[in-house]
Amino acid sequence: MRVPLSWLRDFAPFDLDPIALGETFDDLGMVVEGIDRIGEGLGDVVVARVLDVRAHPKADRVRITEVDIGAGPLQVVCGAPNVAAGQLVALAPVGAVLPGDFEIGRRKVRGEWSEGMICSARELGLGEDADGIMVLERDFELGSPLTAALGIEADVVYDLAIEGNRPDANCVVGVARDAAARLRLPFAIPAPTGRTGTAVVAELATIAVECPDLCPRFTARVVNGVTVGPSSALVAGRLTRAGMRPISNVVDASNYVMLELGQPTHPYDLDLLPGRGLLVRRADPGETLVTLDGVERPLSADDCVICDATGTPVGLGGIMGGASSEISPSTTSVLLEAAYFDPMSIARSSKRLNLRSEASARFERGCDPEGIDRASSRFFEILGLGEVAAGTLDVWQRPAPSPPVRVRTGRVNALLGTGLADDDVCSLLAPIGFMVTPVGDGLHDVVPPSFRPDATTEIDLVEEIGRHHGFSRIPRTVPDSPHVGHLTPYQKARRRLRDVLVGAGVSEAVSSPLLAPGDNERAGWAGALIEAVDPLAREESVLRASLLPSLLKAVARNASYRSPDVALFEIGKVFRVPAGKRGDLPDERELVGVALAGAGGGAAAAKQVLDVVLDGLRRPATLDASTASGLHPTRTARVLVGTEVIGHVGEVDPDVSAAFGIDGRVGWIELDLADLLPTENAYPRAVAVGRHPSSDIDLAFVVDDEVPAAAVAASVRAAAGDLLEDLRLFDVYRNERLGAGRRSLALRLRLQAPDRTLTEADVADVRRRCIDAVSEAHQAELRT
């Protein structure tokens, strides 16, 4: 909201530095988003007459003008489409410095000299219009300073962001009241001068309200003998500075009142209202209305329509008027609607119709039903012409006053951390309109003003007291937590998992879990998916069911930037439809996914990273050849802890990699963190390290490819018994001599006894047992 300082000064004597005043607004929660200084840098701009306009020989878009500032013709090149001979315009001559430190020089425009610039309102900081030059409406002496000619006074315009709970601050008066209270300045809203003629409104028009729930208060007043024309310079100037375009005296008066008091009003051409009256009702389903913006809107029974007395809609209550009864140059009688609409209904209608206006924004936050009379009186005062009919048509179901809010000084201090006295509660609340009655024992009965619909409970008033006392004046303390801060075992293990992966050469990706339609399926997912309703972008509309699509996209993206050899992991949520009954929420799991692409990628690399991860988390697991959706059918294994499957390791199905545009093998691990990570700290018991010499045995078995190496190792482990300290596979070997479909697996066993040096007989015994066990279980031959 744009608020001119000159306007604020109508209500309180703000004479401090404009920057300091801005800081006061900030400190009260009315955030200053910008400060414009109007009329600064205009001292050099003068009134000039355009004598002649001709085409530029070398440029279509600009023309050459002859202008006079009372000292003979000057040649000025002008790009505005609206420049014409005879106009009075604002000229910045050579040497002038315009707002924004923009200095005008003598320069050539495509070969033609220009001795200055004819200005637009925007260039002068006098309005938003940048489409053409500003044409002066009245006659002024050539060469006279523009500021003097237009009566421009320097001004400061604040652009304020007003919070949703401060409907009172959505107007000049509200901002002035808040700031005056903080600055201890006197604040007053002058009473509008009443001015009524002999006619009585009840004889000129009628109103009826059929839906008081949507429109609790509806009033109408009438003024006759109006001549529609331009507004006064003061009204037009203030509207312009506040960011509204002046239209006509009637419309401007309505806008002026809205900006000043926060109460929207709507003027109708009374002669264009069939039946000379208004009817407020719910719209009929299927009914439509052409609003002032020329759009035909389909209505519903939740919308409040304003109709003429015959029942034909002429406007959407509190949101936008219709075209049929719009004020026109020929209007002479004006019916002024000033009403209070239910905030929630306005919000709903405005959202459903996707139609927002200055009026609807104010009504949906909550206007002041008690402020309506002042607003319509102010309208007539600003309009300043015509004969105002006596009386007001008023349909109002005035609610019973709410009981006062009980405020406890002790509670205020306990919540704010202040040491305010009972008197402070009163002196902080009274200037912003609250009626405070001390009732003893540090208690107060507080009646909120009608323009503060947000303040209905004690906590609301605690906030107002804190706000006006000043947040920066509240002493800062840090509470002592009675707890020892800590991460959970799961959180600690998750950090360790990340560190282990980073140590293993894998970098961390973070992706949005929202995917494009088809991404999950491209990654082989065949199950049900969860979609966003009415997403903004199709590319982010479906939740991922696996980390595979996210990481494959990341791999493909890196490959497209010539980094095909990437090792990436992600720890993130996936969302699935549970197999059984649907709960309140989707089946959401936290997984870790690892993708190893390019050189150094593939299933074997994935297995090696998995070993590091499992070792790092002290989580022994076994593998079991098996595939899963999207993964390579013959190069994938399930990862089991005990009998529980915690994920998969192996390689991405080549068709899936190709579908994401990736060449080459992609090693893959996906594990469910709920199964992988501990929920309680586990501290392994120390095992004494053997002090006696150990003995090694190397055994190479030739077995069929169908026999997993893990199975051979398991047989050895079982057969070797307690003396086995370590077992590792150190060579895998295939050749023609061994025959197709067979390979040699070389294992190294390290044997050790805790209490003695092993004898040759001990070692030979273990060796024999292992050979027998493996030969028998796997039809293996010992390679010698």
């Binding site: 949703g164 609301d460 649907r582």
Partner: protein
């Protein structure tokens, strides 16, 4: 015999000098000092001499033997030194020509930032709480004092999910539902932070992405005040951003807190002097905060007269953006290894 000795010693000295390796020296040593050496031969002749003569000649012989032994030891040291020098020279390695071995990976910047923020709060006695990203409308809005149709809801541009009744399930627009879950599951005093991913229906641009990371904090205890909130925010901004970075609170509106405030911190770019980044104000907006609204405490069954609390929230990504000078937030979700490996 004296003449013989002189000759033998001279010959033996030449023999030792001639050895060019440690091995040759060992052989020469045996040759000149061993049992079959000329010196040993002379020694054998001592027995035939008269006692006095034997003593004198014996002394001369021993003198020659000692000198030759010393010469051999000296020579051995020389040869060992030159052999070591030659061997080491042959082992010379240019360490800058070594091919790179396995590289370490990189933690995502977002994770590093989150971990550091978590550590600050853990140090202040907080726990770290987490919850679902797909949430119920009740936990995300209703329990937080945003009834259905509340105008403040429109500020969130919530992404609802096709799950259950219409608008019953959503991708959480803030981590506040975790606050609700924490208060439902454990009695006060509560000192906890809630980091995690949140979602908005925003068109991605330099400052917004549809999913981003937020950290919220919640304290519920006896006698918690707005001053405690302001002090806590000041403490953590100083701890994370460094001494000299301060916080200020400005009144604001959120349905779930009252009084509510937005907090700004000293612009780290200009140290508060005013620059383009902070629009000349010297302050940068970081997040929102306030005293937990009594309606929120009531929704989770905490007696608002006995307990009070504060909550705050701010963007993890935004902290990273400020600290590392990231101009476009979208890069955080690009997973471009050239970006990830910078941190």
């Amino acid at each position: 015999m004296v003449d013989d000795l002189e000759h033998v010693e001279k010959q033996a000295g030449m023999r030792l000098d001639a050895a060019s390796t440690v091995e040759e020296l060992r052989a020469a040593e045996t040759e000149v000092l061993g049992k079959r050496s000329a010196l040993a031969g002379l020694h054998a002749r001592l027995g035939a001499l008269a006692p006095e003569e034997r003593k004198a000649q014996g002394q001369l012989l021993n003198g020659a033997r000692t000198r030759l032994s010393e010469l051999a030891a000296e020579r051995a040291a020389e040869l060992r030194a030159s052999e070591r020098a030659a061997r080491l020279e042959a082992e010379r390695l240019d360490l800058t020509e070594v091919l790179p071995g396995p590289r370490r990976g990189h933690l995502n910047l977002v994770t590093q930032t989150r971990d550091e923020l978590e550590d600050v709060f853990v140090g202040m006695g907080y726990t770290v709480s987490e919850g679902p990203e797909a949430e119920t409308d009740w936990h995300s809005f209703e329990a937080l004092n945003f009834p259905k149709g509340h105008p403040a809801r429109s500020g969130f541009d919530t992404l609802y999910l096709d799950w259950g009744d219409p608008e019953s399930t959503l991708l959480r627009p803030h981590t506040s539902p975790v606050q609700i879950r924490v208060m439902q599951s454990q009695p006060p005093p509560i000192y906890s932070i809630m980091p995690g991913k949140v979602y908005r229906k925003d068109t991605p641009d330099a400052r917004h992405t549809a999913s981003f990371n937020q950290i919220e904090g919640l304290v519920v205890d006896k006698g918690i005040t707005f001053g405690d909130l302001a002090g806590t925010i000041e403490a953590f901004t100083g701890a994370y951003f460094g001494a000299g970075i301060h916080a200020r609170l400005r009144p604001a509106y959120f349905p779930f807190t009252e009084p509510s405030a937005e907090f700004e911190i000293t612009c780290a770019i200009c140290a508060g002097a005013g620059c383009r980044t902070c629009s000349g104000t010297g302050w940068i907006e970081l997040g929102g905060c306030g005293m937990v609204h009594p309606n929120v405490l009531a929704a989770v069954g905490i007696d608002a007269e006995a307990w009070s609390g504060f909550a705050f929230g701010f963007g993890i990504d935004r902290c990273a953006q400020m600290r590392h000078g990231i101009s476009d937030m979208r890069i955080l979700l690009d997973n471009d290894i050239r970006f990830i490996s910078q941190f």
